[in-house]
């Protein structure tokens, strides 16, 4: 190892301290700059989502999904498989979901028959399957964090993967495009008619007022209203 003169040593140490202090001072704005990406990442997902979804008066519809009148959606994956889930109307109708009960892998589900169960506020609401086939995967994230069905019902909030030869034929009868938009508008109108005048006035101000539209209509019998709309 080489030896250092006392002056060289001092000047070197000075530079090292300057570098260390500069690092600490620069790290703060650098950290703030990089961390701002968290908000930007969330913002970046919004326009991407608007490309794949369309907003009706109150509810969002995914452009690439097909809808069962029981407010379940299906997205075909090839000719024999589909991802299925609950649409935006369903989750806004029932309100915050505490638990989702999904069928096990290997279970056969039939179009229009109850396939999964939502636990909301101590009550249970069944939802029907949009297609017929065998469940080959379930979304564990939706079971662990049911809130994902609310935050992203058409992507991260998928519930089941269904496979089988009857998937595509049964999906053919589902609602898509303009037909789906007209259907959701009719469902919205039907919902509006049931609301009390007071709540109706509040709704005219724009936007959907609360999570749990059914409960807003009738606090006691909201589950019956929900079942009526979800055809279960």
């Amino acid at each position: 190892m080489e030896t250092h003169g006392i002056l060289t040593l001092y000047s070197t140490k000075t530079i090292e301290y300057v570098v260390a202090i500069s690092y600490l001072l620069l790290f703060i704005p650098f950290w703030r700059y990089v961390s701002a990406g968290r908000q930007n990442a969330l913002a970046a997902t919004r326009p991407a989502r608007s490309l794949t979804t369309t907003m009706t008066e109150w509810f969002e519809l995914a452009k690439d999904a097909a809808y069962h009148p029981g407010h379940a959606w299906a997205k075909l994956d090839g000719t024999t498989a589909a991802l299925v889930g609950a649409d935006d109307f369903a989750q806004k109708l029932v309100g915050p979901i505490h638990q989702i009960e999904l069928p096990g892998v290997g279970t056969e589900v039939h179009q229009g028959s109850p396939a999964w169960r939502l636990h909301v506020d101590g009550k249970v609401v069944d939802m029907v399957s949009p297609v017929t086939g065998v469940v080959t995967a379930v979304n564990r994230e939706a079971i662990d964090q049911p809130a994902v069905v609310k935050s992203d019902p058409y992507h991260q909030g998928w519930l089941l993967k269904v496979e089988g030869p009857r998937v595509a034929p049964t999906a053919r009868g589902l609602l898509t495009g303009d037909l789906a938009r007209r259907w959701i508008q009719q469902a919205t109108d039907a919902l509006r008619l049931r609301m009390t005048p007071d709540l109706g006035l509040a709704l005219q101000d724009g936007g959907v007022p609360v999570d749990g539209l059914a409960a807003a209509i009738d606090q006691e019998r909201w589950d019956e209203i929900a079942r009526e709309h979800l055809l279960s």
Partner: protein, 408 residues
């Protein structure tokens, strides 16, 4: 391979057909193996196997360009020193999720642990081929301790950490095999494994840097520094995060059918988060490099050819990917973050190769250049790791959650 990882196995099929052939008949499975990638892999593995046999029959001298002066070649530099750095994904991700509580990254922990296990296996197998008497590899563990050697610590740490990685990954194997009981018992101990793994990594990652502190006259002064252990440790954390971004990107591109829809949907968000962490660590690493340069009193050497090479490493492969990663993270530009991850990884590889091979023995007349045989064997070992990664990911729940088990 086109089989989907989510397909339910055919009822009544044999264990071998169900677990190994993924429900296909032997004929169908053999036909599915005939792909351009598999053919390329077969050629690389065959060439490597021939070189390995040749090395064990005729000795190191017949296959390598190693000598008494240049005793360390690419098998140590690339397979061991670099392989261990690239295998750091296991401890960084496990520490982030299980110790720091960043639960949202749980879906990519197994990618990190598997990449770590393969990286360390790559290192150990490379070492077995490299050392003159491979049957003596257990000596530092049981027979001749040599407690004053840094390699003693490296040998023990790597052996223990490889065991920890196997234990950390074992729940995925148990899920694949359907062994519920042992899986639950292993998961109960997982926080202990993770903590032990982080401690071991924080010991042997810097120790690999400390190895070169014993060679002040051999390593070029621009790379020789008392900060080597710290720099190795910090850069290994960078490597761990960027490796998970890179591996998941490549897997998404090459084996999309092995992913669960849920992980595919979350991958962009997770990659951006890992990118933010990597940008901050790269920033710290850059300043450490600067501090080491000043502390080394060799700024004048920057004006030489070696200096240009050093600046290329620091500016081209540390500062540049750091800025790109920061820019990509700030603007949520996933493509830029992915490019920066590959770039930063290239920088880590370059750094490890510079320290252990290129700038080592820089001042001797007899310069070392790897032989074709050395490249063939190193390439074959890398290919084994890639093939093993694909084989495991198509069968075991790494890129998807097993439908019959609760996520842990």
């Amino acid at each position: 391979m086109s089989d989907t990882a989510l397909t339910v196995p055919t009822t009544g099929s044999s264990w071998f057909t169900e677990k190994i052939l993924m429900g296909a008949t032997p004929r169908e499975y053999a036909r599915s193996l005939v792909t351009p990638f598999n053919l390329f892999a077969a050629v690389v593995l065959l060439a490597g196997a021939v070189a390995i046999i040749y090395r064990f029959i005729y000795g190191l001298g017949a296959v390598t360009n190693l000598s008494q002066v240049n005793a360390w070649g690419i098998w140590k530099g690339l397979n061991v020193i670099t392989g261990v750095a690239l295998g750091a994904g296991g401890y960084t991700l496990a520490a982030a999720v299980y110790i720091l509580g960043l639960k949202e990254y749980r879906p990519v922990v197994r990618i990190g642990v598997l990449a770590g296990f393969l990286g360390y296996s790559f290192a150990v197998v490379g070492l077995l081929i490299d050392i003159g008497q491979p049957w003596r590899i257990p000596y530092p563990l049981v027979y001749s301790f040599g407690v004053t050697s840094v390699l003693f610590e490296v040998a023990w740490c790597m052996c223990l950490y490889l065991t920890v990685l196997i234990l950390e990954f074992s729940p995925a194997v148990y899920e694949w095999l359907g062994w519920r009981g042992i899986r639950e018992r292993t998961l109960h101990l997982s926080v202990g494994f993770v903590a032990f793994g982080v401690i071991l990594s924080s010991m042997h990652q810097p120790s690999l840097g400390a190895l070169f502190l014993m060679a002040p006259s051999k390593l070029h002064p621009l790379w020789y520094s008392q900060y080597l252990p710290t720099m190795f440790f910090v850069s290994s954390a960078v490597s761990g995060l960027t490796m998970v971004i890179a591996v998941s990107t490549l897997a998404r591109w090459g084996m999309r059918d092995a992913f669960s829809p849920s992980l595919l949907a979350r991958l962009p968000h997770l990659s951006l988060g890992l990118g933010r962490g990597a940008a901050l660590l790269l920033f710290a690493y850059l300043f450490l490099k600067l501090q080491a340069l000043i502390d080394g009193h060799h700024i004048d050497l920057l004006a030489t050819g070696w200096g240009a090479w050093y600046l290329l490493e620091v500016i081209g492969f540390v500062a540049a990917p750091c800025l790109l990663m920061a820019y990509g993270s700030h603007h949520a530009r996933l493509g830029l973050v992915r490019v920066a991850a590959f770039w930063a990884l290239a920088g880590i590889i370059l750094n490890r190769m510079n320290v252990s091979v290129i700038a080592l023995n820089w001042n001797v007349a007899d310069r070392y250049y790897p032989s074709t045989g050395e490249w063939l064997i190193a390439g074959a070992l890398l290919m084994v790791a890639i093939v093993a990664f694909r084989w495991v990911c198509y069968r075991m729940p790494v890129l998807f959650d097993h439908p019959e088990f609760e996520a842990h």
